[in-house]
Amino acid sequence: MICPRCGLWNPQHNATCESCGEPLRAATPAADNQPIAPLSGAAAISAAFPAGLPGMAAPPASEPDIVQTAPSQPRVRVDEPSLYAPVLGPVDRESFFAAQRRHRRATWRLTAGSAVAAIITGVPLSLIVTPVFFAIILILTRLLHIVVPVPDIIWDAYRDTGLVLVDVVESLDDPATSGVGEGDISRVPPSLFLKAAAIWLLPGILLMLAIWPVLIRLFRHGGVGGVLLSLGARPPVMTDLEERQLVNVIEEIAIAAGLPPPRVMLLDSGVANAAAVGSSPEDATIVVSRALLDDLDRDETQGVLGHLVASIGNGDLRAAMSIVAIFQTFGFASALVKAPISGQARTTVRRMLGYIFNPRKPHERAEEARVISGMLTTGIWDTNEDDFDWVNDEGQAVTEQPGPSVRWLMYFPLLLIIVFVATIVLEFPDALRQLSLFGVVALAGWIVWHQRRYVVYAVHQGARWARFMVMLPYYMGAMMPQFMLMILTGFVLEPMLAFLWRTRRYLADATAVQLTRQPDGLARGLAGLVERGGMIPGGKWAGPLFVVGPAAATARTVQAVHERHRQHLDEARKTADPTATAAGEHGFRDEARAYIEAQRKMAADAQELQRTEGKPVEPSLIALASAHAEASGATQHSGFTASGDSGVVSFHPPLAKRMKKLRRLGATVAEMNITDQPRIQVRDDIKVNPFIRFLLAPLIYGLLLIAGILMVVVLALMGALALGACAILMAVVYGLFTLIAPS
């Protein structure tokens, strides 16, 4: 290719001229000889709408000035599309007031959807809460009975409630409905069905609905995102011009929003991002990383901070607190359910009670609130019932000892009984029988003596065994709801809340445009943060409160890593087979060698990064580089764990969608090639034959469909099991109660 500037011939693959550095472009017949004149506004419109704008008469031909202005423009070469090149506005322009109304309506719809999702997620836990609730009510009524005699009708109602399963089972065999689906569930009368459902579901759901506002109030103290302030946030230095400017910008927008100016805190982080934390518009703090000030200009900063102030004004802090409290409610209910079988859950409940009833100093209280809310939220995913863990690895210290294990003592009562029965059956003389029994006891004594160092442990172990046996039915009953809770939280509740939160982000974007009247500033700021900012290390738990998601940095890193891997691969391919011109044209062995070489270089890169960690290096880059070495794994996790929010649906809307909405509000940023959605295609250079793809598609989608159906079936089975466990527990509770306190 011939350089347009110095006329030197360059090899085809060169991006820039070897002599003068002028960028070279692939030759196209139109562009090579004739520089393209930029379209003037009128010409651009007539190019986009050859028949004239819709609803506008075609320009009269007698006006030559439109045509003549174009050649008089200086002929400028159109280069690579610039990142922020102005474009024609979209056809579907929308005022920011209309956009806000639209997003607000969407917010209401999604709030309703989230409420339904929350109730569905609460169903499995309710099933296990109900028997406990029932037991408490029974005991309380019995105590009341001592003071004031309770009428029989109430006891009958309790009996009906406790034995509703029996009624359901009996109605299956009811002769009155014989012929209608023998033994089928359809024989259960609907009224009884409704009654059973109400008895099994309502108490738990009502209990959780009662806990939820209490938890919002309880943790309102620190608001949401208090964790960010513990990362070393400091007040701005007013003598530093940039920080003073930041405070000014925030106060200016607060005036535009009619809000009290929020507090400003700075994080000395090398990653540019910002977040709004707190509990209400009156008690809000905007946390800004110092890097944001260096990375964005004043307009961009104003746009980004406008988003945060708008978010505060729209009540996002309260919404965030409600969302967090939903997870906390499930965590607390789950901890209550698990308390009899899990020490971890007991600790959570104990600290929770301590937090409620123990007066503390404010800062201690805030710290404790942070710890507890973390325990509650992570408790949902915790199936580690540590009371039962020892069953799997019991008494290693004892079994490793030489000689008989203390564990044998467990079987001695049984041995004693067997020996006793045997002596009677075999008609042993009394003396011999006593001797045999004494022998058994002596054997036990010998073991105890031999393992006397572990006797305390053995007693402890015995107590645990006893507890295990007593709690086993409860364990079985509580496990199913626990698993269902995890699945429903991960696949129903959290995605729903994520979509709600995303809509609130769009709403805040539209409000920010109203406040700053500068859609461009916000658009450029967001793009800049996605491009250069990212997740502030340590801020993962407050991720949704940031302007751009933690996904941004990860996606950027993934892309960078992928890019570097591709470079290495191309180099390695060239060395492996110098004659190959394009990818895929050389032998399998060379390709494999190239891959190995590229991976080796990636590992070297990772080590190099680790060595030079003095300068700001993406902390995840090293991990990702080594992950990329196992290239097959990367594709499987690209849409999932790489999102950083680590949920199925990220809480942050994709940048492309935000940009699209901002363009509708008048932003003139062009389509950008920045993305926050990681796309790894490890072997994207291999083309799949469209015909084969066409054949494979039904197979793949069929498999996906089957997987989905299977998951629903598994959920239904788990639900049925949980239902059964609940019904049996209810009957057991009632039975135990009648045994202890017959009335």
Partner: protein, 186 residues
């Protein structure tokens, strides 16, 4: 009997609706008044900053005492105008112009441009200009919200009766004499 209950329910619903509408309008009207007050707060903030500015540049700009005098004069005129909207607006406009020329002239003094105090002052003053603009914008947004609420169903039927008058928007000819001065206490 049933008719009486139905009538009672209808009256109750109307009463509740009325209360909601009335409270909503009061809230929005107070927001408008507060927004109006906010403009004054920001104008005063500018007045407070001007002596600092004059002191900072006085030593350097010995040849442009005229400009500084214009600034000081416009400021004292604006303060003297008080609640007289027309005079006040004229004085504030003069002040804006005078400040601009101060910073334009200051560009010719390299020492002044590098002076940290001057930079900070410049930032404060441009921030104040932004605040004034934003305060006006917020006032207009609030007025629009209030007027829209007032003129749409159901408030439109009762707004007049309850004494909710239309609020004027802040326009460039705000100094026009026919503009009613809002009765605001701040």
């Amino acid at each position: 009997m049933w008719i009486a209950i139905a009538v009672g329910v209808v009256i109750l619903v109307i009463a509740i609706l009325l209360i909601v509408v009335y409270n909503g309008l009061v809230g929005k009207r107070n927001q408008v008044r507060n927004a109006w007050g906010q403009i004054d707060v920001q104008l005063n903030r500018r007045h407070d900053l001007i002596p600092n500015l004059v002191n900072a540049v006085k030593g350097y700009m010995t040849h442009e005492q005229g400009i500084l005098e214009r600034v000081t004069e416009a400021r004292s005129q604006a303060i003297a105008a008080g609640a007289n909207v027309q005079q006040r607006a004229e004085a504030e406009n003069q002040l804006t112009g005078a400040l601009r020329s101060v910073f334009a002239v200051a560009e010719n003094y390299p020492q002044l441009r590098a002076n940290e105090n001057m930079l900070a002052l410049q930032e404060e003053l441009s921030s104040t200009e932004n605040r004034i603009a934003f305060a006006r914008q917020h006032y207009n947004d609030s007025v629009m919200e209030y007027n829209t609420a007032r003129e749409t169903i159901p408030a439109v039927f009762v707004a007049g009766m309850l004494g909710f008058a239309q609020e004027p928007l802040f326009t460039l000819d705000a100094a026009a004499p026919e503009r009613p001065v809002p009765q605001v206490a701040f």
